[in-house]
Amino acid sequence: MRTITFSQATLEAMQEEMRHDPTVFVYGEDIVRQGGIFGQFKGLPEEFGDRIRDVPISETAIIGAALGAALTGTRPVADMHFADFISVAFDEIVNQIAKNRYMFGGQVNIPLVIRAPDGISKQAAAQHSQSVEGWVQNVPGLIVVAPSSAATAKGLLKSSIRQNDPVLFFEHKLLYPQKGPVPEGEYLTPLGKAEVRKPGKDVTIVTYSIMVQKSEEVAVELEREGISVEIIDLLTLKPFDAKTVIESVKKTHRCVVVHEGVVTGGFGAEIASRVQEEAFHYLDAPVLRVGAKNFPIPFSPILENYVAANQEDIKCAIRKVLHREG
């Protein structure tokens, strides 16, 4: 299979969907003149003209107008530059976009995608490094997606653009330049379905986005110690594929949830709750969560590394649930 970068994979998804449907358009800050911070929009202006546009630094307008456009018969894709900035358009996301369909009694669909590059990358410090899915997990009415690879990025972005509901699409910044195998031609990756990245029998890791590969690295190492790790890549966080998670935990009897965002009130709390509600009697150890320490992401590399969750934290948690500490 050919290998392309995550960034190219999302570009292909955009090209294909914009060719399919003339009502799909994309706008965001610095996506035409710069091609996106990670080159993920390069080439679109030449082919699609006005259907890709730079917008002023007006996140509220970008997201609010995306809703207005979706309500009136188009399929906007809005790029958020950095996921951290969804806070600037929080009313539009949580009070308008998430609620319009419901509070209007289902009169209208809201087909829109908010692409939001997230995560720790290159010492960007506290306001450009966050994983913010925890902010929106408490809001009914949003679909939240987080691809982990080039292949899933393409298939999920295409599915998200075709979805008749609002999708928050979190793309980890470190994934953009990474290459991975991507099938030729068009394909869709279904929303709401997790994938088992690696089968195992001793412990289930439930994870997503960049932490999938970090978990995979840990799994390879632990394999040498005779620990068999099953890795579930959620892909969609809301609604998440509880069935796949619960079935896995019933098999392994142990569960560690891994994400890059902070632990307290993070998405892992939701998964851990769900696991204990539905598989309590199968568990041989408490469900553990691995994520960033409860601080803003600091600047200095030494501090940043300390706050961020890393492979060592994942390993520790796995040993702990297996009662094989030190």
């Binding site: 003339p22 009502t23 358009f25 006005d50 259907r51 546009r53 917008v55 002023p56 007006s58 509220t60 307008a61 997201i63 609010g64 107008a65 995306a66 809703l67 207005g68 456009a69 979706a70 309500l71 009136t72 018969g73 188009t74 906007p76 009313d91 539009e92 009070n95 308008q96 319009n100 369909r101 419901y102 509070m103 209007f104 009694g105 289902g106 009169q107 209208v108 669909n109 009914p140 009415g141 679909i143 979805q163 008749n164 509901d165 709401g192 809301k238 609604p239 998440f240 594929d241 509880a242 069935k243 939701e270 769900r274």
Partner: protein, 343 residues
């Protein structure tokens, strides 16, 4: 007061007698609906909060008479008048206020969330200033689909102090979007006077900051509103870009039904009721020009009363939704189709 003055051509004079009466009908229907809603709320038939449009009817009426069914509007928390003027059915509106299944939103929205997408009414909005960018997005749709539809964003004086106002007007201006921003300056943001909370004498002054035209008119004169809207909407529809129209009005009722109104005197309100009621003023205008007689006015009032009585009966007779219907309409798919996923 220093604001841009402009004489708008008298398009009202070109209307047929029937269409001129049509404006009065709409105003009277809104007034009758709102007056009855006030009573029903006080009689505990209508739950929640109700913000009445009484005294401001000329604005929705004069603007909407210049829109097509396919044009869009965004409304405010004080949105009943906009919905009626855009063509919404008062029976389904009333049922929504009652929380009934036959309401526009099947009882999920209530007063502050009435929408009717079949007539381009993109929704009342519980967040002040929440509608600006939705209207801008509708304008983007028209641009993407290359239609000549326009979007009108109604907003209050208080909303012009939101950041959304700034971002929306700037974006609409640089992209020359077909959006008309209609300010209903009813002199109060809840309890706070506009003059206290606003940095400029006229909200239309703010248009300059966005490189667009801005005008202030008497929002209680439906003829003036009609003429200004006719001219501005025509321009925007043919590609002149967005405009801002400030319509000076007065909120005769409290911010919400039940407002103790400690922030103003009864005398002040009474003066407005006597001297500045937009319906009385319009009837006087028509009578002076012999464009209507008492019998015709009476007929309009009678018809409005019987329509609203029928709407009330429809709402009374309609069933409440089943409790489980609370679980419908969140997504385009039904959650029950996917029992294995956690929403």
């Amino acid at each position: 007061m220093p604001f841009q003055k402009r004489e708008f051509p008298n398009r009202f004079a070109e209307l047929s007698r029937e269409d001129q009466h049509g404006l009065l009908k709409t105003m009277v229907r809104i007034r009758t609906f709102e007056s009855r809603v006030e009573e029903l709320f006080l009689n505990r038939k209508v739950p929640g909060f109700v913000h009445l449009y009484i005294g401001e009817e000329a604005i929705a009426t004069g603007v909407m008479a210049n829109l097509r069914k396919s044009d869009w509007i965004t409304s405010t928390h004080r949105g009943h008048g906009h919905a009626i003027a855009k063509g919404a059915q008062t029976d389904r509106m009333m049922a929504e206020l009652y929380g009934k299944k036959t309401g526009y939103c099947k009882g999920k929205g209530g007063s502050m969330h009435i929408a009717d997408f079949t007539i381009g009414m993109l929704g009342a909005n519980g967040v002040v200033g929440g509608g600006f960018n939705i209207a801008v997005g509708a304008g983007i749709s028209a641009m993407i689909k290359k239609t000549d539809q326009v979007a009108v964003s109604f907003f209050g004086d208080g909303a012009s102090n939101r950041g959304t106002f700034h971002e929306a007007l700037n974006l609409a201006s640089i992209w020359k979007l077909p959006v008309i921003f209609i300010n209903e300056n009813n002199q109060f943001a809840s309890t706070t006077p506009t003059s206290y909370a606003t940095s400029v004498a006229r909200i239309s002054d703010r248009a300059k900051g966005y490189g667009m035209e801005g005008y202030t008119i008497d929002g209680n004169n439906v003829v003036e509103v009609y003429n200004a809207a006719a001219e501005l909407i025509r321009g925007t529809r043919k590609g002149d870009g967005p405009v801002l129209l400030e319509c000076i009005t007065y909120r005769i009722k409290g911010h919400y039904v039940g407002d103790p109104e400690r922030y103003r005197s009864k005398k002040e309100v009474q003066k407005q009721v006597i001297e500045n009621d937009p319906i009385t003023r319009f009837i006087d205008y028509l009578k002076e020009r012999k464009l209507i007689d008492d019998k015709e006015v009476e007929k309009i009032r009678r018809e409005a009363s019987s329509e609203i009585a029928a709407s009330e009966k429809f709402a009374e007779d309609s069933p409440y939704p089943e409790p489980e219907e609370a679980c419908n309409d969140l997504f385009s798919f039904s959650p029950s189709e996917f029992p294995e996923v956690a929403l």
